[in-house]
Amino acid sequence: MAGTIDSGAPVPAGLPGRAEFRQLGYGVALVALVACLPLLPFANSYLIGIVVRALIFIALGQAWNVIAGIGGQLSLGHGVFFGLGAYGTGLLFNDFGITPWVGAWLAAALAGAVAVVIGAITFRLRGIYFALATVVISLAFEKLARFYFALTGGDTGLAVNFRGTAPAVMQWREPEAFLWISLAVVLAFYAVTRWLLRGNFGLALQAVRDDEEAATSAGVNVYRTKLLALLLSAAMTALAGTLHLQFYLSIDPGTAFGLSQAIQIQLPALIGGLGTAGGPIIGGAIMILLSEGTNVASSRLGLDGVDVLAYGIVLLLIVLKAPVGILGYIKSKRLQRSGRAAPAGGGD
């Protein structure tokens, strides 16, 4: 990405302009393909379901990318916000009849409030306190969800009262509507990420990520910037949690608050390109493709369990070959070809 400031300087060759226009073209074509998937002759509920899973996965990665990739604050417990989104929406619907269209925003506000409390305590401290706090709080929420059986359904989890196809309460028997909703969410999150990478707040956030003391010396209120980014990231994660709940119609403590979920949330951005707008999309899509591909292949070959191993090996190879993520790798190669040094990170 070239500078966003109109400095009057010549635009370096091979960066924005035509290349960016071409990227936009690819993006529009991809969105159109996904949106029209149900109309294609080979599409079925299984295939559409996979794409919905991928989109929800991507949305979670995009949400985590805001605080970790752009803000540089490593959250190891984003499952908290995912769980609050899913449980919050489900409980509001089951117990109070509040439609998930509204419940999603209330749950996102709750997740944002919890994020502010976590951030307010830990962001004043330097070091790994925030990362540790997110893990501990995540584990605490998992225990609470298991313990308060009457409210959360305990170990069994929470099942949404299903009313069949009822758009007013975000329920459908077929997955097509979820495809379009999830796609809209991914596009909205992409727009948020682009805004963060190019807007005033995003520049300050990236400065904080690169060097907190230098950001302070540039007049940035580091504490407030991190807090706002966490709030935004948590609210986005909770919205993705709502989507997950409405699609699967159930949630349990392990899926919501467990550490494996927290790690899964991190992978799309880490694989695709941390701190980039397109990274979580590419990373999430590759991971779902890999997961499904290895699963189908191992079933056909009668090698149950090999899929997980193959999935892990391929992910490991990607990380080894492209430690800055796939987009970061492509960007550094492109800059090398044009005789330029790769920046420290981030970008579109």
Binding site: S7, T216, G346
Partner: protein, 245 residues
């Protein structure tokens, strides 16, 4: 001759780290458009004093006034926004942002009146960095990186610029180039405090020298006077700088 009003006043500042007294009863004032050199041997407390003045480290006791306002308890980012600006001993640019974006981060926070984009363009032009605007820090030379730090520090409402060893690592020609830029900023009205080890340069640049040793001010005056001070010669400058009998 009437003295200019002090823009920065450091009064009886002490700073202790555990058992180490890093700063002890440090007092001095800086006048409008002055260039003050802060010198002293390694470990004298110069960088600590910079950190205390810029607000990154609170003093154990004492007071700091900026344009007459007590800023001792003011957060560092607010001091920057009010015009107390600094660079770092080791260059600390935002690696993922372009040169223009590095400057823009500060402009967005600190430009009160006017368009921050214009201010960025102006700061880049002042430091002759316009051609580098869309490059990343990893793509530009060391002197240019130093100048980007200065541009980031002066953009917006800069009233006092504190430069921490901004010439280290530069060749003589490169250092001369940066010094000229700094003096140009001073001629435009900027007050400058400079920590520097390259004595001939600091002697030529500064109108006044404040000498620190073991966290205490041991001399404060015009460069020639300070250079002739036997205490300073003994503590820091060495016999090479002893005036001929």
């Amino acid at each position: 001759m009437a003295r200019n009003p002090a823009v920065l006043e450091v009064t009886s500042v002490h700073r202790k780290f555990g058992g180490l007294q890093a700063l002890s009863d440090v007092s001095f004032a800086v006048e409008q458009q002055e260039v003050v050199g802060l010198i002293g041997p390694n470990g004298a407390g110069k960088s600590t004093l910079f950190e205390v003045i810029s607000g990154n480290i609170p003093p154990s006791s004492g007071a700091i006034a900026f344009h007459g306002d007590d800023v001792t308890r003011m957060a560092a980012f607010r001091r920057r926004r009010s015009g107390l600006c600094r660079t770092f001993q080791k260059i600390r640019l935002f690696g993922a942002l372009t040169v223009a974006q590095n400057v823009a981060v500060a402009a967005q926070q600190c430009v009160v009146d006017g368009n921050w984009r214009d201010e960025v363009a102006s700061a880049l032009a002042k430091l002759r960095l316009t051609a580098q605007a869309d490059r990343y820090p990893s793509e530009i030379t060391l002197p240019d990186r130093k100048k980007v730090e200065i541009a980031r520090a002066i953009v917006g409402r800069c009233r006092v610029l504190m430069l921490d060893e901004c010439l280290s690592g530069l060749t003589r020609d490169e250092a001369d180039e940066v010094v000229q830029e700094i003096l140009g900023l001073n001629r435009q009205g900027l007050t400058i405090i400079v920590v520097e080890h390259v004595m001939p340069v600091v002697m030529a640049m500064a109108q006044r020298l404040v000498v620190l040793q073991h966290g205490c001010v041991i001399a404060d005056g015009p460069p020639k006077e300070v250079a002739a001070n036997p205490v300073v010669i003994e503590a820091y400058l060495g016999a090479r700088h002893r005036p001929a009998p």
